[in-house]
Amino acid sequence: MVDYRPILRTENTNLLEVKSVTCVKQERCLFEALSFSLGSGKIMQIEGPNGAGKTSLLRILSGFAQPEEGEVLFEQRSINDYYDEFAAQLLFIGHKTGVNTQLTAFENVCHWLFVHGYNDESQVYELLGKLGLVGLEDVPVRTLSAGQQRRVALVRLWLNSAKLWILDEPFTALDKKGVAMLQSRFNEHLELGGSILLTTHQDLTQHFEQLQTLVLEYRH
């Protein structure tokens, strides 16, 4: 397979750099001295069995958890020291998607937009429609199915200008059409020079030329 990574350019275009990060949880070392970097326009899939530390890694990379050792750099600067600037360029959607089930889909998306400093409320109805939630915009999210609830969270992918997307199992509960739609959105983001880090147990159905894979092993 051809390696598309332009070796010489990586020095300048590294968006995210992970330097010998170690994570220990409940006296079990999940990974040790892990180093890698992710350039602009690249997508990285983190693979590994349950309990290998995929989610823990994503939480460290998003700055929610601190690694035992090592550091994470975003555009050559430590994410801890410049967290607000980093947060402005980060879109994180975790297992827990941040969708309040008492509020409606529209209210949820608008609140998220506001808290992240966007003003695209006018597009929300159209995008919810595009994601197959026509007529469900104004009912409480708790009445929607699991897949529909996830779509409410994933609308954010169309509404942000962040460079780095960190997605933990984004395809969970989505149907085939939803998975395909999400992957074509990934492509648009990559073409604009953005980067994506994601975990998924499913293989990506679409071919991404810029795909890198990181495999975490379960350690005892």
Binding site: R59, S62, G63, F64, A65, Q66, D84, E85, A87, A88, L90, F92, G94, H95, K96, T97, G98, V99, N100, T101, Q102, L103, E107, H111, W112, F114, V115, H116, G117, Y118, N119, D120, S161
Partner: protein, 228 residues
């Protein structure tokens, strides 16, 4: 498109979300008030309806009931946001977490503290409080209840990640309420003797001013620890 909302606009957005949610689940507003009312009505039944005795004990009873009913809503303050992931989204926002926290605490006060302030005259009547002490009761509640929300939110932030954090939170927070309780009841006592109670109010006000500035920072650090 990314615009920079002012901090005030962000405050309003977070505040109105919490207040809207509370109005959708009415129990959240009504339960602490009913609890307050029940505690207040239980006392005359237990110690006898002798007016002088009730009036003597009224400040203490009203304030202890206030402390306990404030605790009722605290457990829920960050719990839903923690469980549905909204807290992570708030942390990963370009705005300071302490501002979102300030808005949430203020919303909590609007939902639990403010109704108690408004109903204070009725409780005072139930407890046969001296008429001249009514003003002091309302004022101490007005200054004291936001203070209770601020202090309590620190405990709520620290225990939000725990399975059964509610009891631990009470143990953490109730001792910290003691200074508020002392100065508030002392103000009401003093006023029922028709003496000046400005000093006690000033101390409560000073505590509130410090809490306004320091508590949001403490709460956001507590939340960051709970999330990680």
């Amino acid at each position: 498109m990314r615009v920079n909302h002012s901090y005030w606009q962000l405050f309003k957005a977070v505040y109105s979300k919490d207040v809207t949610l509370a109005f959708r689940q009415r129990a959240e507003i009504v339960n602490p008030l009913l609890f307050f009312l029940i505690v207040i009505t239980l006392f005359p039944l237990a110690i006898g309806p002798e007016p002088g005795l009730l009036a003597r004990m009224a400040p203490g009873i009203i304030w202890v009931a206030t402390l306990l009913s404030t605790m009722l809503g605290l457990d829920k303050l960050f719990r839903d946001d923690y469980h549905d992931g909204s807290l992570e989204q708030m942390i990963a926002s370009p705005y300071p977490l302490s501002l979102c926290v300030l808005a949430k605490v203020f919303a909590h006060w609007t939902i639990t503290g403010l109704p108690m302030v408004l109903m204070a005259p009725m409780f005072a009547l139930l407890m046969n409080l001296e008429p001249q002490a009514l003003g002091a009761t309302i004022l101490t509640l007005l200054i004291g209840t936001p203070l209770l929300s601020f202090i309590g939110a620190i405990g709520a932030g620290l225990t939000v990640g725990l399975q059964k954090g509610g009891i631990l939170m009470s143990l953490l927070v109730l001792p910290l309420y003691i200074p508020v309780l002392i100065f508030a009841t002392s103000a009401i006592d003093t006023s029922s003797m028709s003496l000046a109670y400005g000093g006690q109010l000033a101390i409560l006000g000073a505590m509130l001013a410090v809490a306004c500035i320091a508590a949001p920072l403490a709460i956001s650090s507590a939340l960051r620890v709970s999330v990680s």
